[in-house]
Amino acid sequence: MPGPTATPVSVPAAPLGGACRRGWRGRRTGAPGGLLLAGLGVAALSLLPIVFLVLEVRGVSLSEAHRLLFRPRIGRLLTNTLGLVAASTVLCAVVGVAAAWCVERTELPGRRVWMVLLVLPLAIPEFVSSFGWVSFLPGLRGFGGALLVTVVAYYPFVFLPVAAVLRGTNPALEEVARGMGLSGWRAFWRVTLPQLRLPVLGGGLIIALHLLAEYGAFAQLRFPTFATEIYVEYQLGFDGASAAVLSLVLVLLSLALLTAEVAARGRGRYARVGGGATRPHRRVRLGRRAAAVLGGLTLLVVLALGVPLSALVYWVLQGSSSTLPSSSVWGATVTTLEYAAAAAAVTTVLALPVALLSVRYRGAAGRGIERTTYVPRALPGVVIGLAMVSFSLRSAHGLYQTSTLLVLAYAILFLPLAIIALRGPLAQVTPRIEDVARSLGLGPVRAFLRTTFPLLRSGIGAGAGLVFLSTVTELTGTLLLRPTGTETLATRFWTYASSLSYGAAAPYAAVMVGISALPAYLLIRRVDEAGA
């Protein structure tokens, strides 16, 4: 073989012909210019709703804003919203922790089945489960009804992470506490419970944000909150000013929640000190308490799954006896899947540069861009919907009531899901492999596409899947932004359910639940595998 020194140098005579342009070399972050530009674009998109919300509010005079804000109605909305957020979140935490402890730490018979049954309510959109309740008990109204429906719909957000932590913590911690003379109950209180702080806070935050944003369920339960009021005021009189002012209050509430959660989280990290494989925990014998535990869990599953599902089955059967336009179910399903696929694709593409910047280049720019894309977490669907309407009316006429605008709104709404799903797998891929690919003669883009990209498949799949399913069950934004004549499963369902045509509404809900069951199943499997 000829020595490599004999091969002619393939670099052109002008030595710096294809050189990097120094100006584009972000010196602090080291991020390539193109990536930074893409990230900035995505961040700007994420800020779009806030910007147009502020523009709408600026159009309202101070005295007008004062009149809109300080009326008795607002006081009642505020008590309703905050009261429900507080009560429902706390109850969800109690129910979620108790159920997780029973499943993970006791000799409960059939615990894998319980695990599945207790997580499955996640597959039922809130407006479908409230539909189930209201269709059976038309008298279920107001605070009590809202509390019942939201607790049984949302407790899995606490149950899932708590179950994972209960399974993953080192049993030696509790054993040491018992060895120091603490009773089982006190050991739980002083050792186990503090370790559950982070999963409970995390789950609680998700629940509280959902409660602030929820429109469909509360509209059916006739329980006015900020979100329902904004929608109604917008729909009734196209009262942009009032809706905008109320939206701003709602956004501030969400931001306050996010801030409070960060503060409560603190710097706490529960590191596992010392290595060794995790031993399974010794399970508590239930003995005579078994009946009570089984009864409690059964009641929970009946309330969370049994009622909504049996309502769906009942009304589907009722409906099919009348004339059921099955072709429109099919049409709405296809439309929904198309929108969901488009939203998943667009959102994933937008998430990629942000995830790359935030994981690979921890500079100020990367961090700022990532945080900006999380801002929409504080924006309920109804607010994003209204802001996008305002955006299309003020600045982008061509987009008003187009599918493009709707997909953009989905992307803004669900971008954090896709970014979070990408971050984990991306952090596990060493950037060195791209360096190696560069030194083997590949340009930056091809180096990425041939090394890192193939390794991100799981993250891309997970993120796209989450966005897809969130889009399928999205109601409020879709109602506000869909092109005239476009009907998705959610909007069809909503139209029929609102006009009390339960039989006609149920098939649409059944299809939505069927589609959402898949991610719930995958979630359960992941938690199950994490410990088993």
Binding site: T5, V9, G18, C20, R22, T430, S439, G441, P454
Partner: protein, 364 residues
């Protein structure tokens, strides 16, 4: 001709300077090593040469091509520099064959070429294995084959052996050196391991605080380090105060002949390696200084002996390596003599820990 040539290379991260004017020349076909403690900037230097990072000032030439002048830099894919990072960084989604063929143009990705390269690094027959199925040493060899596949002018080895266990390390090191030499490729190895640098490189450049303090062939570097801390970094050393009289160094151990001439009357230290000192039992008049054995670490094939000289200027501790067969006992009286020419470092070069007697190895 030089394959790599650095002039005044500087690089800072924020306000922290990492490289503060590095000059280095590596001849074409040489196997060079950059030796330094962790955090001294050696990985940064490697990334600058590969083109993953760019210099703040100074120039980098590869062959006759100026690849970085502080204003414009040639993209890494156009530099013809192979790169073997720590841990190998094999592409986890590709098998061995596809890893090695990765940089080859499509028409040259034939079986024969890959076989040839894998045989060269001594692991033929692993084509279909996935990276996670290979041992650490095998991964490193695949990484080397992958880097050599595109016939680079220069190959950069970034601590490629540090993750391997000691036995495997020596074997892999020898194999890598043989493969690189067989192709005549210029190699630059970065390491924090003195033994590794001294045993496999033709040229060792020591990087300290962002500058190259000395670049020389291994023997010369070990025998004639430019200052005392460097001497101690490269291996255990006895640092003995000395004055030059009549062309020899006058020391508490008696007169010591020098390898290189030193100015008459100069004061400084003589660096003597433990294996350059000899011991004889007291009483037999062999010439040298009287001493008492303070401690003995017996290793079988040899022994490390700590001595305390009966020096009027203060008991000077010394370390001597002797063959295991004639290791003295603790407390024994011995005569210590110098069995080789010494290396003199004048006061001008010697930093503050001059009079400490024994230098200890900084990172053994």
């Amino acid at each position: 001709m030089n394959a790599i040539s650095l002039r005044g290379v500087t690089r800072a991260y924020g306000t922290t300077p990492v490289l503060r004017g590095v000059d280095l020349d590596v001849e074409s076909g040489a196997f060079a090593a950059i030796l330094g403690v962790s955090g001294c900037g050696k990985s940064t230097l490697m990334r600058l040469i590969a083109g993953f990072d760019h210099v703040d000032g100074g120039t980098i030439d590869l062959g006759s091509v100026r690849v970085d002048d502080g204003h414009r830099a040639l993209a890494p894919e156009r530099r013809r520099v192979g790169y073997v990072p720590q841990e190998g960084a094999l592409f986890p989604h590709l098998d061995v064959r596809a890893n090695v063929a990765f940089g080859l143009p499509r028409r040259r990705r034939g079986q024969a070429r890959v076989d040839e390269l894998l045989d060269l690094v001594g692991i033929g027959g692993l084509q279909r294995h996935r990276p996670h199925e290979l041992s650490g040493g095998q991964q490193q060899r695949v990484a080397l084959a992958r880097a050599l596949a595109t016939e680079p002018e220069v190959i950069l080895l970034d601590e490629p052996f540090s993750a391997l266990d000691p036995g495997l390390r020596a074997e892999t090191r020898a194999e890598v050196r043989r493969a690189v030499k067989a192709l005549g490729t210029t190699a630059l190895l970065v390491t924090h391991d003195q033994d590794e640098a001294l045993s496999c490189a033709d040229l060792v450049a020591v990087l300290r605080d962002g500058v190259i303090v000395q670049a020389a062939p291994p023997r010369e570097l070990y025998r004639a380090p430019s200052d005392v801390p460097l001497a101690c970094f490269l291996g255990e050393a006895n640092v003995v105060p000395a004055t030059i009289e009549d062309g020899v160094a006058q020391t508490p151990l008696g007169p010591v002949r020098l390898r290189d001439a030193a100015g008459e009357g100069a004061r400084g230290v003589v660096v003597l390696r433990p294996e350059e000192l000899t011991l004889t039992a007291a009483g037999r008049d062999a010439g040298g200084a009287n001493a008492e054995v303070g401690a003995v670490e017996f290793y079988g094939h040899d022994a490390r002996v700590e001595l305390r000289l009966d020096d009027p200027a203060g008991a000077l501790p010394l370390i001597v390596r002797t063959g295991g067969h004639d290791a003295p006992e603790v407390g024994q009286r011995v005569v210590c003599a110098v069995g080789a020419d010494g290396h003199f470092v004048g006061d001008g070069h010697a930093p503050d820990d001059l009079g400490r007697g024994t230098g200890t190895v900084a990172a053994a």
